[in-house]
């Protein structure tokens, strides 16, 4: 296709093709970002309702939480306006599912990855643009299928976000048409999501390997791209076993097989032995689930670390400290993440030998994680830090992720885990990783790339109004969880442990005593959660008003950064680059003594008298003779 024809084609794109069924990686990235953001807000809302139930189990939901439910819905799911155990389970299961599968992964990997990766490697688009679009729509369909079940008679899935059998294999059996049961829809949604992420990850890895600009050799790749590459591999190889498990569980539910249903199950509702062949293995599901589940943690984490690793060198005006060790740490981390999964299952009756194996690999995996974190902290050393909005978020990411990571260590040891398993300590640990950790990293990313996406900066005042309260509330919300967990608070109490109070008074039950001591923390945490929700408003407002009235950028490279995405027009058009990008140096060449300005972009041609910096490994000239 000739250039003219192409331009013409570009202009006549109808609006629905441009904004909805677009194959442009930037549009798809933004689509992913917006829908993931919507899901995050929804998941956040579910959490607030749950926290209300924990702190005030006898009080009806306040009007500002329950106004969005219809009377019929409230009559079905609330007990005189109070959250019931069943509803709590439903919200808990869906909160976890939505946050992990529909919120953070799509936001980090799919949204940022889609928008930034091709720009950073100098590609015109993803390698398979149509697959990219299919991936987004499969994701959205999966998410909607899962969430639709909230409005059905059965309600949404209630068996935890891990969906363990036999509970998940039997829940909602009173529904005659199993395809209308929330628990089944969860599985259908999951299969769609897995399909989506498979398409996505094939696309990412292919793009990164095949479409790098000339001169962009492996060790010149920005750290972000490396992280996306490893994340792509994690998704590619870890998700299929869960897909297998999901399909098997779907069979259990829909055609009555017994993959995960052991012999001799009785059910209270039928008052007798269940009509099943039995001989299935519930633990097989757990294994296949966590085979995905653990790499998934790194799928959540790596994009956030990647954003932070881009922002820190740019704002300290100093190369990323230990770029190569970080890359190797990343690869080792990715590999090890496949063989640590059973540390989620120490309490399932695994023997001491295998427990020790998983304990060892789990402790080993903290080494690359610490390399990553330490390198980024050392990168701050001696830099002239510009505390721009993205940098503030990135700086907060480091200690918050540190707390999250370190609190995970006791859980890696199987003896300590005997006490801490399924308590609020676990919740505190991974929420520290995900909320103030990963989400802060992603917020940093939003503030960092917003100017490239829209051509305008986000407002600083609103940014601060978003950041500081969020930081405080996050800690007030999650730190008490660690304390409560050590006091023995179980993670699935819908009434916050109130049942133990009476026992505590008698002084018989040791948990009763510790629970009585720590139960008042619930109110602080719930208050913080509500406040946290309120202080996300400045961010939403900021996103919106900055788009129209924000300060305009004066150049294509407003942060004076070195990586290739800043060489594109703002915002980048279809095809991204106005020139044929070539790369002459590593990604973080800040404050080079032999260069005039304090940053030396990857794409800037070296001066003639400077020492030769030829592009290496130059690929063949692009061939485009195909129409």
């Amino acid at each position: 296709m000739s250039a003219d024809a192409h331009d013409h084609h570009h202009h006549v794109l109808p609006w629905w093709k441009k904004y909805f069924f677009s194959t442009d990686h930037k549009t798809i990235g933004i689509q992913y970002g917006l829908s993931a953001g919507a899901f995050l807000l929804f998941g956040f809302f579910l959490m607030i309702v749950m926290r209300w139930s924990i702190a005030y189990p006898h009080e009806p939901l306040p009007g500002y939480m329950s106004w969005m439910f219809t009377d019929g819905w409230k009559a079905r799911w609330l007990d005189d306006g109070k959250v019931t155990g069943e509803t709590y389970n439903m919200f808990g299961a869906m909160h976890g599912t939505i946050m992990v599968f529909l919120g953070v992964v799509p936001l980090g990997f799919a949204a940022f990855g889609n928008y930034v990766t091709p720009l950073q490697i100098g590609a015109p688009d993803m390698a398979f643009p149509k697959l990219n679009m299919a991936s987004f729509w499969a994701y959205l369909a999966g998410g909607l299928v899962m969430c639709m079940s909230f409005f059905m008679e059965s309600g949404a899935a209630k068996s935890g976000w891990t969906n363990y059998s036999p509970l998940a294999g039997y829940a909602d059996k009173q529904i005659v048409n199993q395809f209308l049961a929330g628990q089944t829809q969860w599985l259908i949604g999951l299969v769609l999501l897995i399909t989506s992420s498979l398409l996505g990850s094939v696309n990412f890895v292919t793009t990164i390997i095949q479409l790098r600009a000339k001169g962009l050799t492996w060790m010149r790749l920005p750290f972000f791209v490396w992280a996306m590459l490893v994340t792509g591999f994690l998704l590619l190889l870890a998700f299929p076993p869960l897909e297998a498990a999901g399909i098997m569980q779907l069979m259990d539910r829909v055609v009555g097989s017994s993959f995960f249903m052991p012999s001799g199950l009785y059910s209270a509702s039928s008052g007798g032995a269940m009509d099943l062949s039995g001989s299935g293995s519930p633990l097989l599901f757990q294994h296949l689930f966590w085979f995905l589940g653990h790499p998934e943690v790194y799928v959540l984490l790596l994009p956030a670390i990647a954003c932070v690793a881009e922002i820190i060198p740019c704002n300290t005006r100093k190369p990323l400290w230990g770029y190569k060790p970080m890359v190797w740490a990343l690869i080792v981390l990715g590999f090890l993440s496949f063989i640590v999964w059973a540390h989620h299952m120490y309490l399932t009756g695994m023997g001491p030998v295998i427990s020790t194996f998983f304990q060892t690999t789990t402790v080993l995996i903290s080494v690359p994680s610490v390399i990553l974190l330490t390198s980024m902290i050392i990168s701050l050393w001696g830099g002239s830090i510009r505390f721009t909005m993205p940098m503030i978020w990135a700086a907060a990411f480091l200690p918050m992720f540190g707390i999250g990571g370190l609190t995970g260590l006791p859980l890696a040891f199987n003896l300590a885990d005997l006490h801490l398993h399924d308590t609020y300590y676990v919740i505190g640990h991974f929420h520290y990783v995900v909320a103030p950790g990963i989400l802060f990293g992603l917020f940093a990313g939003v503030y960092h790339w917003y100017p490239k996406m829209t051509g305008r900066f986000m407002d600083n005042f609103l940014g601060h109004l978003h950041f500081w309260p969020s930081l405080v509330c996050m800690n007030l919300l999650f730190f008490p969880m660690l304390t409560q967990g050590m006091a023995g608070f179980h993670r699935r109490w819908y009434n916050g442990g109130e049942g133990y109070i009476e026992k505590g008074a008698e002084g018989v039950n040791v948990f009763g005593l510790t629970v009585a001591e720590k139960i008042s923390l619930n109110e602080i945490m719930t208050g913080s959660a509500i406040a946290l929700a309120v202080f996300q408003l400045p961010f939403l407002v900021n996103m919106f008003i900055s788009y129209f009235w924000g300060k305009k950028v004066t150049s294509d490279n407003p942060w004076d950064a070195t990586t290739l995405e800043w060489a594109t027009p703002t915002p980048p058009g279809h095809g991204n680059f106005t020139f044929d990008p070539a790369i002459y140096r590593g990604p973080y060449e800040y404050s080079r003594p032999d260069h005039d300005s304090d940053f030396f972009p990857q794409w800037e041609e070296p001066k003639r008298d400077a020492p030769a910096e030829e592009p290496e490994g130059e690929p063949e000239k692009k061939t485009t003779e195909v129409s």
């Binding site: 076993p241 052991p262 496949f338 063989i339 695994m350 023997g351 194996f357």
Partner: protein, 132 residues
């Protein structure tokens, strides 16, 4: 990758040969499973037959991969991708198997992972009733 016409012509003969080989080994597998004079082990079907059958299958799979899927002359990247998949699938099986076969033991009683173990006398260790 076979590029020139001559090479492809030569390759076609190879494909034919491999195809025949695959047919042949399929027949051998079935015979091991059904014909008495090719039956190994001490009764009709047992571990020995299973091992032989799977070995033949693995051999056939290798032929398909090497010749039909051109893995006998491929780019390093492709070996990397594919072996990564195989390694992860292996981890999946190996570690699940290890987890399942490593019971917690108390004296003579072993508490494996919740399967109803019929090879042991029914002492109702799991409290679910020895009789159905």
């Amino acid at each position: 990758m076979a590029g020139s016409i001559e090479e492809i012509k030569k390759a076609k003969k190879l494909y034919m040969f491999i195809g025949t080989l695959l047919f042949f080994f399929t027949v051998v597998t079935v015979m091991v499973a059904t014909v008495e004079w090719l039956d190994f082990g001490d009764h009709g079907f047992d571990g020995v037959d299973a091992t032989i059958g799977l070995c033949i299958a693995a051999f056939k799979a290798t032929l398909v991969m090497l010749i039909f899927m051109h893995l006998n002359h491929e780019r390093p990247l492709i070996y990397f991708f594919y072996s990564l998949g195989l390694v992860m699938a292996f981890f999946c099986m190996w570690l699940i198997g290890w987890s399942k076969s490593d019971p917690i033991e108390f004296g003579n009683e072993s508490y494996s992972d919740g399967f109803y173990d019929l090879s042991k006398p029914a002492t109702d260790v799991h409290g679910r009733g020895a009789k159905e």
